[in-house]
Symmetry: C2
Amino acid sequence: MAKKVSIKDIAKAVGVSPSLVSMVLNGKAAQYRIGDEVAKRVIKTAKEMHYAPNLVAKNLRSGKTQLVGLIVTDISNPFYSAIARIVEDRASEKNYTVLISSTDENLDNTERLVDVLLNKGVEGLILVPCDGSKNLVQRLYDSNFPTVLLDRHFPDIDLSSSCLDNKEATRFATEHLLEQGYKNIALIAYNTGMQHILDRISGYEETMKSAGLNAYINVEKVNILNPKEEINDALGKLINNKQADAVIFLTNMLATNGLYCLNEMDVKIPQDLAIVGFNGNDAFNLFYSPVTYIKQPLEQIAKASIDILMERIKSNDYKSKVFLEPELVIQQSSLKRA
Amino acid sequence: MAKKVSIKDIAKAVGVSPSLVSMVLNGKAAQYRIGDEVAKRVIKTAKEMHYAPNLVAKNLRSGKTQLVGLIVTDISNPFYSAIARIVEDRASEKNYTVLISSTDENLDNTERLVDVLLNKGVEGLILVPCDGSKNLVQRLYDSNFPTVLLDRHFPDIDLSSSCLDNKEATRFATEHLLEQGYKNIALIAYNTGMQHILDRISGYEETMKSAGLNAYINVEKVNILNPKEEINDALGKLINNKQADAVIFLTNMLATNGLYCLNEMDVKIPQDLAIVGFNGNDAFNLFYSPVTYIKQPLEQIAKASIDILMERIKSNDYKSKVFLEPELVIQQSSLKRA
DNA sequence: TTATTTTGCTAAATCGATTCAACAACCTAT
DNA sequence: ATAGGTTGTTGAATCGATTTAGCAAAATAA
């Protein structure tokens, strides 16, 4: 923690040239035919002087920064922070450092952050694209910059991605509710064009249709920026008109806020309404009627994203779109009514 | 996003020397008496060629990295990810980038991560010190490296820190429970020597003593690494022996796990037992008997940590230990029994 | 012995940007 | 006309590490 020791200092101390020191310390003594005697002295001295290479200089020389960017919508969202943890662990195993940024679902922020990170010299990017970012993603694709989309993807852009199989997710949930005898199953979704939400909606719709049931009227879409009030309205409508006997919430945030609303309305779960949430949390489990939810394979999604990125950084033409399988964790909130 | 344009490329394009380009692009045209004409052409060309400076080179030259480290116990813990978000936002306003790492409460990891981050050239460190890290912190202090402790501090090391006023926190909670008529108030704590836990314990003990009540026998300490089972045992003991009519959990994790246990034991809150938790979350609010909790001023704590660090990086002798005020959010779980 | 190869090491160039010293060219004063 | 000052620009050094070309000295071959 004192002033930094450089390769020159070691060279001076040992009485050799800086080049030789560099060669030895990079384990290339044999390759450059350095005498065993000298090599040993260099290593010993380096240790004694607590030498640590200046990574900035190393990076400048090599043109590599050992940096990757992770752009999520909000790192304080437990879903993304859990992913960040895994990505970070895995990246650091490979000697990479992760720069994390949050976009707040805002396109301008996203564009800015991509620029900032590229400027910082990241060698690759893991990106949760926000609504309206298709152009940006297309540009990223065109530029051939190593990029992996996380959690969300664009079906007609052939960029690597690591996402949940979203159709499957709501298919599982819908089938389960149908099995439990529910027929008027509603959906609380975001009012967005983002593919992952659209997929979740179609997983539901397709399942309803194959069961010969009408799905369409029951999809309630909520503004992504001011959801609380609108969730309340949507649920009120579904309850009061007795339109629905079950509701699937398409995100964790929608479900959690939904629970607050349902409590306030004094709706009994599952007697008055069965519910299925998205992404488990303690609140779901500790709710008086523990909430059935669609569980994302968090670890797999995170690992795939960073592994794909690492592979892509190594070989220019590597590409992989993966869709991981959800799991339905069945608890009381969606069970058959007594 | 194409191959990088360097200052040399611009120099060549304009027909001047790289030095001149550098001077102009750093806004030092006047200082170095560069001709207006040329300066304008340089700026125009730089824009046209989409010049972006190579930050690695800049950093090497300046010796500054514009990097700070944030070492927490676990970035996937919502408390720390919320803090990370705020620190990150604030740092990036000042053109700093935050490198985040997780120690898992492990000393070896902490030592390693400090080394890694120093190696990467961070200009300062925000650190959540784990149990047993006093030596490390002392070394950091002695080295005079810009460091701010977060969430936890050492009373006899005069290093900057940003923490909750932990004594006050449990004082509030204990006083509240006493007011509500509870007398046998127990504590579920970690079995640790860390100051923040000790402070929380003494806030409780002091309050109990001034009320003329015996506190000591009711502090149950749980192993930090395997808490679930031990929480269960501790609560079982307190309930079965009718030792306690109220429990304060000293961390969010203890409280959340406590709720699971109490549910399993079919203990009614607050009829059988009043409870107070630490750090709110949705589970507390959605619990059938919404949980009273000690709320930390997250934003203030986070802001103080990064602000202090920035100030310290600027001026070598700056130092500040702050203790932020907690707030007690009173809900049903701690109210007087009917 | 002379020629050739091997061994062990160093000097110099490089990565991209910054900054200081230096130097023309021109202008002004005496 | 000579000295001194201004203006506008460039070359070289530097940050710390890596790598290539090259050069002595020693070892081997002819």
